[in-house]
Symmetry: C2
């Protein structure tokens, strides 16, 4: 096991009607907040009204900034930063999914920073201060509600980059599974793939002797598989949606990476895909994760065999065969949620593969479990093609 530091300081308020507590919780931090959200679905579902009512009840003033889109845009982040400065806002409430939360985190880091917020993503500057962020989660997927990370897309350069700091970890997150009942089925499926992939990135590691973490990774992966199928079959299955919501939070808050090196290649490879084609992150991962697995499994066949046996109950005693079955089962799991596992299935051809591979690899390549250069990444895109 490796040395680690872990800060899980986001307070979780989980369950039915929990959004009604938002005003009294915020009151501990701020009297004037930015209410940040997406395309207006929170108005259609009635959530907006409940939030506003709770804020008013606790005498919390708010200024609104809606309009966050999937693969959240740098331009809106900059607009949010200006708005917070102008209005003297010292707290951001994100109501939505990972995109809204990531946009809120970027604004939070940008407000006290003298330079341009994109510096944090291009690694030209480190986050040294941020105003607090809290969330009301409406999509189980990204895990951003308890994570120290964020992903923003610069729509001009079409670059999708990530940033991280414990300073942008939400101070509290409100998780009411009922808020996910109105999502389209494919959103639930994308979310399940995203959280599953967050564990895959941590599970495939070269660090030995991390039993507690290994066992917990497998535990949450099994739960996600079982409950994703139930939730897609019945969108209003509270228990299934609750398990997905909590599973997605645990998947990405850091506890499943404790004591080990993580990989993150699949995410990096997918980010190029969704930056170039503006597809949903979960849709891209359903394509990239199995291709990444097929490309790297020979690096540690026993690890992949363990994955197959402990996550998918594969019984094959031969490690090579078990490993391949595990990858096949991963494909089947994603397909069972109604998702395509090929780029062609998403209507994406090979036209950008060379360019995406080079952008993704950068100067230094990616990955820790298996180090990948542009050539490797190109091969993974080609494996994902059809």
């Amino acid at each position: 096991m490796e040395n680690f530091a872990l800060d899980l300081s986001t307070k979780i308020i989980f369950g039915k009607d929990s959004e009604e507590k938002v005003g009294e919780e915020i009151k501990n931090y701020s009297e004037k907040v930015l209410l940040h959200y997406g395309g207006g679905s929170i108005k259609r579902t009635g959530l907006y009204e409940k939030v506003v009512k709770s804020l008013k009840k606790s005498s919390v003033e708010f200024v609104e900034l809606g309009g966050v889109v999937p693969n959240p845009r740098l331009s809106l982040v900059r607009e949010g930063i200006e708005l917070c400065r102008k209005e003297n806002i010292d707290f951001i409430l994100a109501v939505g999914g990972g995109s809204v939360i990531d946009s809120a985190k970027a604004i939070a880091a940008g407000v006290p920073y003298k330079g341009d917020v994109w510096d944090f993503f291009e690694k030209k500057a480190r986050i040294r201060e941020a105003i607090p962020v809290a969330t009301i989660l409406t999509i189980s997927a990204a895990g951003s509600e308890m994570s120290p990370s964020m992903v923003i897309t610069d729509e001009k350069s079409r670059r999708k980059l990530s940033g991280r700091s414990d300073l942008i970890r939400p101070v509290f997150s409100i998780l009411n599974p009922e808020l996910t009942f109105t999502l389209p089925k494919e959103q639930v499926a994308y979310g399940a793939v995203d959280m599953f992939a967050h564990i895959v990135e941590r599970y495939f590691t070269s660090t030995k002797n991390v039993d507690v973490t290994d066992e917990m990774c497998e535990a949450v992966m099994r739960s996600i598989i079982m409950n994703a199928k139930k939730a897609v079959a019945d969108l209003e299955d509270y228990n299934a949606q609750a398990e997905l919501m909590w599973g997605g939070t645990v998947a990405h808050n850091g506890i499943l990476g404790a004591g080990r090196e993580e990989d993150w290649s699949s995410h990096r490879i997918e980010h190029e895909l969704s930056a170039a084609y503006d597809i949903a992150h979960g849709a891209g991962l359903a394509v990239i994760v199995p291709a990444w697995m097929a490309y790297v499994y020979k690096h540690d066949v026993r690890r992949f065999a363990r994955y197959a046996r402990n996550v998918f109950h594969v019984l094959d005693e031969d490690d090579e065969k078990a490993a391949l079955s595990g990858i096949e089962e991963t494909n089947k799991f994603f397909s069972s949620l109604g998702l395509s596992t090929t780029m062609k299935g998403l209507g994406i051809g090979e036209e950008n593969i060379g360019k995406m591979s080079k952008l993704c690899a950068g100067k230094d390549g990616i990955g820790f479990f298996v180090k990948l250069d542009a050539e490797d990444i190109e091969k993974i895109y080609r494996l994902a093609l059809d």
Copy 2:
């Protein structure tokens, strides 16, 4: 799944040499601390010197209070409260195991409180304020390093009572598995039983549909079983001790109880035993947990069968047989660590059973998975006798 709130805000600093960071971490909170410890083993092992060096390097002043014993005493807590007030101390560093940490938490809650600290344990008052506590853990067991709870013994009345508040959750905990290498073998075994029991108390619940939590409970129980055996066989097995240290922390920080009712009868029944006989808490639990299981399993045979299959790999298809095998395996696990699983093995007879049962049951009885009155508790003690 039930609604829940979860605050995991203790920052974890885990690994080799991590105790050297204590000064710079404390510096973020305080310039003058109470250094609280036990019987002086930290001086023999050299840990005391390292801590003092780190505090001095960061210009953190300290006042010492040693002398904490297992089943930590109310009298020392009161002494600590007076000392902190007299010396204007606003931070407590606990260096030791669960007893030292619990003693530190009680002092932390007592310092700003006008009344007597025992009020918090007799439930005559609620903790509304506390000075911060941090820990350097030297025994993997109690989980107090990331928990909101504490157990203190009033040596005059021989009552052992617990208190809890998120306000006494340590602000940071330093976990270096190497610090456990000098423990006697039986301490390691007691610790493993204690952390295992913390999961048992959460795992046996009447709440349905808590998959993620169930799976994670089983995951950590399996890891504890495997690594406890390794650590007892080789006290300096870093990886095994690391898994126990992290497993013990996860076992009791609250994440394994998320979304469900917990039980806590075994702990309550054991507390009377260790209050009356001053035995180690883990030694008492090794006796009480299997007896409690044998008494209550018929309440939910399927749950106990699942426990047997998923934690001990019992293959029996008949639920009743599997359940009984699981209880037997629990006994065997504790025995394999060199521990007695009967009261007689600890030199305890039936002389106090009636009195302990009544004290334990109080007016309202105990337990949530299965509600127990004094008569039930007496039967459990008798099952544990030999």
